[in-house]
Symmetry: C2
Subunit: 93 residues, 2 copies
Amino acid sequence: MASEMIVNHQEKAYALLQADAEKILKLIKVQMENLTMPQCPLYEEVLDTQMFGLSREIEFAVRLGLIEVKDGKAILDKLERELSALHEASIRK
Amino acid sequence: MASEMIVNHQEKAYALLQADAEKILKLIKVQMENLTMPQCPLYEEVLDTQMFGLSREIEFAVRLGLIEVKDGKAILDKLERELSALHEASIRK
């Protein structure tokens, strides 16, 4: 029971971080489709703020020993690839 | 052993958050003493960024069930009181 709770903390940390990355991607999608262009400084500011928030969460989870450095980096890298694909697609429109 | 590890995650989360709050206070102290005035937009931007980072860490720890909402709020409230005392003191100089 107790050791299940530890696994749960680790799994939960990972799941929360992935959900947050997903949320950023959705936010940026909505923003691109409805509000502003990627060239808009507001767009960049929102994105920077969100990425900073996520990277602080990841760093915190690493410091707590809940996720591995490489797994945290993988979450950020994946999000950056997805955002950049989104950006490319919006330019090609 | 396993239940000690759970307590450790909670204690560690709390200790990390307090250490981060302390770090922000020190950063702002150094900045006030050496670099810029509280009226400077750069000062406010640094402070906002740091406070946002800390509040994201706290929120994340709460979502993980590692700290209580009220304890997270207490860390932020204490830091805000200390920063505002620092600000007051610098104005009176």
